[in-house]
């Protein structure tokens, strides 16, 4: 009997070690430890042994069973690990294949720029308001101190709808609308689409976007204008930006300047600015001796054109998807 058990253990150990898959091991387990397995059969034969031998062989068989089970479990763990590794190897993909595309929405580069401009000016305390694109001649020109039929309008050729209505040529047209309703102090900004009746080329368009900001308070000076423009330009273009003024003429400001920023090695003209003309303040019942204010404006397109070195203004309204996918976000 002992001899038989020893032979059985040797055979079983050999079978466990040579099982090369979990399925084979399963068969080995069944062969020895299953319901009709050889170890089970011997256990079942215990009652046929002489009573004095039963305890010893019973114990021996149970130990054998436990021993074999342990060997099988160890082997199974080993085989499972190996089989998983093989499966993972087989599941390998060519990671250099292109991705499965997702549909990704994008905001237009002008919208992104407008959002940045808004954030910068809101941070400087400006309240954004809305103003119509189809505006009154009065707000677009007359309230801004343009004399009738003045050559200053040559740069503002307009699309007229009627004798009194036109498409605004500048977002500055919001000034009169605000001043006739509000009392200073205020800081107002507006952003939106403007139109000028001019020939389209790489740097001119009949449709473009502007932001205008103005404030009226006590003792507002050209230094406040310069400081505000510098703070704005630094948020838009980076901390090392410098601001430069040069005299220019706009009927609604006096003094009037053109401002430029020093950026990446050169001066870039951004827009017009100045102190709000006392005629405008007075026309709206604001005493220029008590209050003064500044105004500045700039073209929205100019900002991404500078940032990305885009050389053709027309691209923004052409909406070529290849352009939008490159500069949208």
């Amino acid at each position: 009997m002992e001899e038989r058990i020893r032979t059985l253990v040797e055979e079983a150990t050999q079978a466990i070690l040579s099982a090369n898959s979990t399925a084979e091991l399963e068969a080995v387990e069944t062969r020895y430890l299953g319901r009709k397995g050889q170890v089970t059969e011997l256990l079942r034969a215990l009652p046929t042994l002489p009573p004095e031998e039963r305890p010893r062989f019973g114990q021996l068989l149970n130990t054998t069973k436990t021993q074999l089970q342990t060997q099988i479990d160890q082997r199974r763990a080993e085989l499972q690990r190996r089989e998983r590794e093989e499966r993972l190897r087989a599941e390998r993909v060519d990671i250099t294949l292109p991705p499965r595309p997702l549909r990704v929405g994008l905001k237009h580069p002008l919208t992104q720029t407008m959002e940045r401009v808004r954030a910068a000016l809101i941070g400087l305390g400006f309240e954004f308001v809305d103003s119509p694109e189809l505006d009154d001649y009065r707000y677009n020109f007359a309230a801004l101190n343009y004399p009738d039929d003045h050559p200053a309008m040559d740069e503002q050729m307009s699309f007229y709808i009627s004798n009194t209505r036109l498409l605004r040529t500048q977002t500055t047209s919001v000034q009169g609308r605000i001043m006739e309703k509000r009392k200073p102090p205020f800081r107002i900004a507006v952003i939106g689409r403007c139109f000028r009746n001019e020939t389209v080329d790489a740097t001119h368009h009949h449709t473009f976007h502007q932001v205008d900001a103005f404030m009226v308070d006590r003792g507002v000076s050209m230094a406040d204008l310069k400081g505000t423009l510098a703070a704005f330009a630094r948020q838009m273009f980076g901390e090392d930006v410098q601001v430069r003024f040069r005299p220019d003429f706009f009927p609604f400001v006096e003094p009037g300047v053109d401002y430029a920023i020093y950026w990446q090695g050169g001066w870039l003209e951004l827009g017009g600015a100045g102190l709000i003309h006392p005629n405008i303040l007075r026309a709206h019942g604001i005493d220029p001796e008590q209050w003064s204010g500044f105004a500045f404006g700039l073209g929205i397109e100019r900002i991404p054109m500078i940032q990305y070195q885009i050389d053709d203004l027309r691209l923004f309204l052409e909406n070529d998807l290849r352009f939008l996918q490159k500069y949208g976000a």
Binding site: L106, T111, F128, P255
Partner: protein
């Protein structure tokens, strides 16, 4: 304006390079747009702002240069020499009938004219300044205009009966042939230089060919005048005739320099041997412009500029500009010469001080005093969430044209607003819908072989209202064509269709918080009649969307692909938002799921079935989800089977099967009432 530096040097010393000069002039307000080189001579291309007509001359620019570099100015004729009528009055007579348009008209006479080419030096300067030499008389008038800014005109005196000039408005029906050979119809508000019977020149714009100086001319009458700038501008615009003269008159010519320019011209004519000037000037100037005095308070000047200058520095800056400035009782008194009509108020003087002192010296300071809360505009608060909703739905934002030609995709229910002075049909109306311009973009990109085109725009559209007023409204629109999901290398999807568009609409509605939207058939010639919808919320239409009509697509040369488009009214959308964000605990009790296959006639809309199920399901029915639509074998023709997954749940307890069975039975009875039944 072209300014040859060689010419400029006649009036002011210049020792710096053209580049340095150009930079300083630009920084002082006379923008030099380019430096050109003409036969080795540097020529500045100066852009003069419309308020500085005085700088449209060599002397004017020299005056700025003198101020910048602290140099004296050598004026060729600082004041008129001739004051008396003299001999000129015996052969010429000037009568101004419309003083409002012509405050001053002066004439001198030159005898024994010998027409010949002008001397080389004069021709070279004219050419460098961009004018073509003609003959000695015309060249001298042009030379003086370029030099001093005063346009002059030479008439053949012998062709003016009695040398009599009448300045008056045109009479109805009058015409004139101008120097360029064009016959022009005159309007009664145009100012004319006439003889005793008819116009011989359009005042300030162009002379007439009848009295033109020719090789036969023996005597000339030289005109130097001051005209109303607005009148000249209107005439020039009406006739579409802009000349060197009209350009200057529009920008205000110095009324005080009228006779000095005549004297200068006569001197030059004599000098080049073109003729012999008669003594005297006929100068009609009924109301001479007097020099104004404008005051500047130093503290006000410093407040505006943000500087801290002493009063004497201000006086020095102003004097450098050839202004007479004096400090009296702590206030700067400035006598403004007639060549600077742009200086009228204290702020104008502050600007002059600032630009001579140098704007680069103004410090940077952030405003102090009242603090303000910056904020977005009300419209931005409506627009931005919609832009972000479209982006989440995978659409790319575009900004399209407001101005466009009318077309078949315009909104048929909104009268378009027309542009009165459009240069072309392409710019003739304001869009009344976003769909046409979105489709322009679709067409543009299809032509560039883009196949996945998913676009949106939020922007203003316009309409003319029945009362004649104009309406400007914000719309949110989209246009999509391509695959329902982006095609890759291992998968293909069906084409985007009505339900793809409806998915976009749903994201939009959920973003705004429009809870219960209904979809009703749309009758709009732009859309496929069976694949388009009106979207209603609270009984109001918030927008429309659907597949575009194949006829419309054919007109755009789009074939073999469906294009979906939609447009929503931004304000109406937000006005119907009902969503309130509040906390609802996650469910604590398990749900019971039941699937129903509902067989109904094709004529019964899904919306009716869903509403019926929800109505009958009551509070315990948490949600209804459609997961299949089946037509075909094993069900009668003209019907479809809708597979619904129903979720039942109570917030208070675990539901029993019996309870749910009861509700389902109730639902089935309700479905039977609308002609639907469970599929066996």
């Amino acid at each position: 304006m072209r300014v040859p530096i060689e010419w400029l040097k006649e009036y002011v010393d210049i020792t710096v390079s053209p580049e340095e000069l150009a930079h300083r002039l630009t920084m002082a307000g006379l923008e030099v747009e380019a430096i050109e080189h003409d036969e080795g001579e540097a020529v500045l291309n100066v852009k003069v702002t419309p308020n500085r007509g005085d700088c449209l001359s060599m002397v004017g620019v020299a005056r700025e240069v003198a101020a910048i570099y602290h140099q004296p100015l050598r004026h060729p004729m600082p004041a008129a020499r001739t004051g008396e009528p003299g001999e000129a009055a015996q052969v010429a007579k000037v009568e101004i009938l419309d003083e409002d348009l012509c405050p001053r008209y002066a004439a001198r006479v030159v005898r024994n004219i010998r027409i010949a080419p002008s001397p080389d030096w004069m021709q070279r300067r004219l050419l460098a300044a961009g004018m073509r030499p003609i003959n000695n008389v015309v060249d001298v008038t042009n030379y003086v205009m370029l030099e001093m800014g005063q346009p002059l005109h030479a008439f053949d005196l012998d062709l003016l009966p009695n040398g009599h000039i009448v300045v008056r408005r045109a009479k109805p029906g009058e015409r004139i042939v101008t120097l360029d050979g064009v016959e022009r119809d005159l309007q009664p508000d145009m100012l004319m230089i006439c003889d005793t019977t008819h116009p011989v020149a359009i005042a300030g714009v162009m002379g007439g060919s009848e009295t033109e100086v020719t090789p036969n001319t023996r005597n000339v009458l030289l005109e130097s005048a001051h005209f109303n700038p607005t009148s000249i501008r209107r005439t020039s615009q009406r006739l579409q005739l802009s000349t060197e003269a009209s350009y200057r008159f529009e920008r205000v010519v110095d009324p005080g320099g009228v006779v000095a320019a005549l004297d200068r011209a006569c001197d030059l004519l004599a000098q080049v041997g073109a003729g012999e000037p008669l003594s005297g000037v006929v100068d009609v100037y009924p109301h001479p412009v007097s020099e104004r005095t404008v005051t500047l308070r130093p503290e006000r000047c410093n407040l505006l500029l943000g500087l801290n200058l002493d009063a004497q520095t201000m006086v020095d800056c102003l004097r450098r500009l050839q202004l007479v400035a004096e400090l009296r009782d702590g206030v700067v008194h400035v006598t403004v010469p007639t060549f600077r009509p742009d200086l009228n108020i204290e702020e104008d003087l502050a600007e002059e001080v600032g630009r001579v002192y140098g704007y680069e010296n103004i410090p940077e300071r952030l405003p102090f005093g009242h603090t303000h809360r910056g904020s977005d505009s009300p419209n931005t608060r409506l627009v931005r969430p919609l832009q972000e909703a479209f982006v989440r739905a995978g659409l790319v934002e575009v900004h399209t044209h407001t101005l466009r030609a009318p077309g078949p995709l315009d909104d048929p229910n909104r009268t378009p607003v027309r542009v009165r002075n459009a240069a072309s049909e392409e710019l003739s109306t304001l869009r009344n819908s976003l769909i046409p311009s979105l489709m322009d973009v679709v067409v543009h990109n299809l032509a560039r072989r883009q196949t996945e085109i998913f676009l949106f725009e939020v922007g203003a559209v316009f309409a003319q209202l029945p009362d004649g007023e104009y309406e400007e409204r914000l719309k949110a629109g989209f246009a999509i064509t391509g695959s329902a999901f982006p095609p890759g290398w291992d998968a293909r999807y069906p084409a985007a269709d009505f339900f793809t568009a409806k998915g976009v609409v749903q994201v939009l509605l959920e973003t705004v918080g429009v809870a219960e939207a209904e979809y009703a058939p749309l009758a709009d010639p732009r859309f496929h009649p069976g694949r388009s919808a009106r979207v209603l919320a609270g009984g109001r239409e918030v927008g429309i969307f659907g597949e575009l009509h194949p006829d419309v697509l054919e007109q755009l040369d789009i074939t073999r692909r469906a294009v979906l488009a939609g447009e929503f009214d931004v304000e109406t959308l937000w006005s119907l938002a009902t969503r309130r964000v509040r906390y609802v605990p996650l469910p604590r009790y398990p749900a019971v799921l039941r699937d129903l296959a509902v067989l109904a006639s094709e004529g019964v809309p899904y919306q009716t079935i869903e509403q019926t199920v929800k109505g009958a399901g009551g509070a315990l029915l948490e949600s209804v989800r459609l997961f299949d639509v089946y037509r075909g074998e094993r069900i009668p023709e003209g019907t479809r089977s809708l597979a619904l997954s129903l979720t039942f749940r109570s917030p208070e307890r675990t539901l029993t099967d019996e309870e749910v069975d009861e509700v389902v039975a109730h639902i089935v009875r309700a479905l039977e009432e609308i002609g639907a039944r469970l599929r066996a």
